[in-house]
Amino acid sequence: MATPIKSPGHVAAPGQGGVGDSPLRPDGTLKVTGEFAYSSDLWMDGMLWGATLRSPHPRARILSVDIGPALATPGVHAVLTHEDVPGRKVYGLDHTEDQPVLAFGEVRHQGEPIALVAADHPEIARRALERIAIEWEVLTPITDPRAVIADPANLKVQERGGIARHQPVRVGDVEAARARADVVVSGEYQVGIQDQAFLGPESGLAVPNEAGGLDMYVSTQWMHNDLKQIAPCLGLAEEQIRMTLAGVGGAFGGREDLSMQIHAGLLALHTGKPVKMSYNRYESFFGHVHRHPADMRYEYGATADGRILYADVEIVLDGGAYTSATLNVTGNAASLGVGPYEIPNIRIDAYGVYTNNPPCGAMRGFGAVQACFAYESMMDKLAAACGISPVEVRRRNAVSQGSKLATGQVIESPAPLAEMLTRLEAMPMPAELDASDIRDLPGGASQTTHGEGVVRGVGYGVGIKNICFSEGFDDYSTARVRLEVIGGEATALVHTAAAEVGQGLVTLKAQIARTELGVQRVTIAPADNTVGDAGSSSASRQSYMTGGAVKTACEAVRARLLAMAERKLGRWLRSFGDLNVVGGKIVSRSQGVLATIEEVLGDEVIEETREYHHRPTTGMDPVTGQGASHTQLAICVHRAVVDVDVDLGLVKVVELAAVQDVGKILNRLSLEGQIHGGSAQGLGLAVMEEIVVSGGLVRNPSFTDYLIPTILDMPPMRLDIVENPDPDAPYGLRGAGEPPTLSSTPAIVAAVRDATGRALTRVPVRPEHIVA
């Protein structure tokens, strides 16, 4: 079988270090030398380049498609439309299957794929796309999600109706509580569309194999779920497709949905040649779903001393044209809609709606981000109304172990929010502004003043995120671990299908194998589908789930190793059942070191595969929203210090301080990287990142116009990582990647409010919101 040049291979995990250490990344050297094989780097002799024709209209009927001139272009090998899809013509996440592989009948969003070209050179492919002639009947797009909620039967982007999911939450009696409230505050909040903006473009290589199937090298978050969607559309059995994870250049939710996978597969099957596809940045903005924009109305009533009596909440999430992850995002917005606060009476209505706007789905924080901006803004409003500090109002209402969430679910493991807030408040403050260096002013080197209008502000934010998949999903991961002597040294091979997307799972897998097996040498096999499903690299779940699977498989290998040791060393043993593996040696509690692993193993091989499932969850009641829908929850709290030029509307975030409970630190270096990176994406949402859409059209699909934080935008970050183990999780860990993305946004906006006195009800905050 032909393999591409630079295909992913086994990597030896360098250095030493088990759970709790911070050994070097196994893929680190490859990544710093440029040798790491990302999906866009793959190359094969004779390969073709695939390209995609996309809709210029957000809503239009396709009257005719003429591919003749495109097909006649020299160097073009195939031009395909929906008629060439051999199997099911639609796909989608969570069994929704509403997204056409290639459009037929009607397009429902700008950028929807219509036709494919395979050619010898990407430029030939691009020119051929221009020669595909389409006759359109352009229709008026449905773009107002609130209008859809008001008339879902008539404003239908999808046949099933205008609303993808309405999830209510009902607790107590809101009307009665309203009558008792001393203080009532209300607000309307909006969140713009955020993009994952991973740097590695959607790309990959599909190679026809001898069995009539395909070898696919793609960057994804969940290859087994990709396969479930790809195979039926290509008319292949899942067994005919070999999936290998190519290097992934970041994900953040944006690779949960398919992008080029089926398309490259179609072209490869049709031409019989390897086909590479790689989006450019413009296409990438249309090639994946984004974070749902939200429109939210909140009303809280409280006692005079700031204890919340009720919350009355409406959250509208615009899912765009196709379902993607909207059902679960809406569920999260509902269950976490009032955050980690004890509120006795709650009415939440969360809606996920179809429109002709860009499709939205998974992004880091997944439905919890939008609500967090609103509920934290409400906490500040309540603090002001009651005349108490923002930190104090949060402490007074904070959940702790044993509290109930809005869903009635009891928080069974530690949730020391009040203590975390106290620690945050006690963290040292950054130095006062020194206006003598213009680079330290808001706007940096482009500042036009001497800082006369700069005002400092401080704000706080709290976020709570569910870890792992929720609402009754049977969430699991699989690991295969093999122990053998190679070159005289005991070596563990760890093989999973879990996607390394940058988070450092490959490092952690090696750490776990070292800790559980007492070996130093660990090899990480490339992720592929010759091993069982690992689930998605999302929901901050892979340390927990694939970590749990690797740990469980290692335990099984260790048990067999110890049994082998008892068998082989039997005649020297004074008692059985007290052997362990420590530092590469078989050790008996009573007799000390007996042998090395190598001596026991000899030329035998021990291999075990295990599945790991987390504690089961339940669904949410469709009427009351009640249910133990989450398996683990994680909290992060942020303090933001900002300097705002109130005349120019410019914001400089001076410092972000965070306290996060991670249960147990498995790898401090990687963990800090997750908190830093999550905080950065929250900063982006607070002050700069938005896909601007009007009339269903994206107005800024480039890194020139869609801004993500640069090194000049990011402040120093002060971290206080606390460890309150979760007894249900492997090593007591708590998923850590998402919570900081929630809490940094409201903290920064609160700080800007503190500096400016402006209401700031929409993120990202723009200069005109500050100077208006």
Partner: protein, 163 residues
């Protein structure tokens, strides 16, 4: 067209280059040097940064033909004895791995070339100088804290090695 230039110390001739191709495309797709990355292809992200006659440049903004007769050094050519058995990472490369500055790694090659240039020009850069030098390199994973750590560490190591 034909392009003759020097890449990582080796004289190369590349044939059949289409005039519209960038230096980045030529390196990645015609020369088996995909270390320079293609995150935006419009000079905003810095992931394609290479040395062009000793000066960092976004190779996506350089036409392939403009490399004629010039000297290009990519991330693949930074380590001593590159790609050989005796490969020894440059201190900047080492520091990026050790400091945790590498997550997905897609921005890393560009950041390494840019940091390598900074430390060559300014052996002991202040944080403000590091931030200014790297302002054209986007990273979506790290929030840049560990990248600052890596550059500080690399500068320290290079200074120690020079003593």
């Amino acid at each position: 067209m034909r392009v003759n230039f020097t890449v990582n110390g080796s004289r190369e001739t590349v044939d059949d280059v289409w005039e519209g191709e960038s230096l980045l495309y030529m390196l990645r797709e015609r020369m088996g040097l995909p270390g320079s990355k293609n995150a935006c292809e419009q000079g905003e992200c810095g992931s394609c940064t290479v040395y062009l006659d000793g000066v960092p440049a976004c190779s996506c903004l350089v036409a392939a033909g403009q490399a004629e007769g010039r000297e290009v050094r990519t991330v693949e050519g930074l380590a001593e004895g590159s790609s050989g058995v005796d490969e020894k990472l440059d201190p900047v490369q080492e520091a990026f791995v050790e400091a945790g500055a590498v997550q997905c790694g897609f921005c890393t090659p560009g950041l390494i070339v840019q940091s390598h240039d900074l430390i060559a020009r300014v052996p002991d850069p202040s944080d403000a100088e590091i931030r200014e030098a790297l302002a054209g390199n986007l990273c979506r994973c790290t929030g840049y804290e560990k990248i600052l750590d890596a550059v500080r560490l690399a500068a320290r190591r290079k200074a120690e090695a020079a003593r």
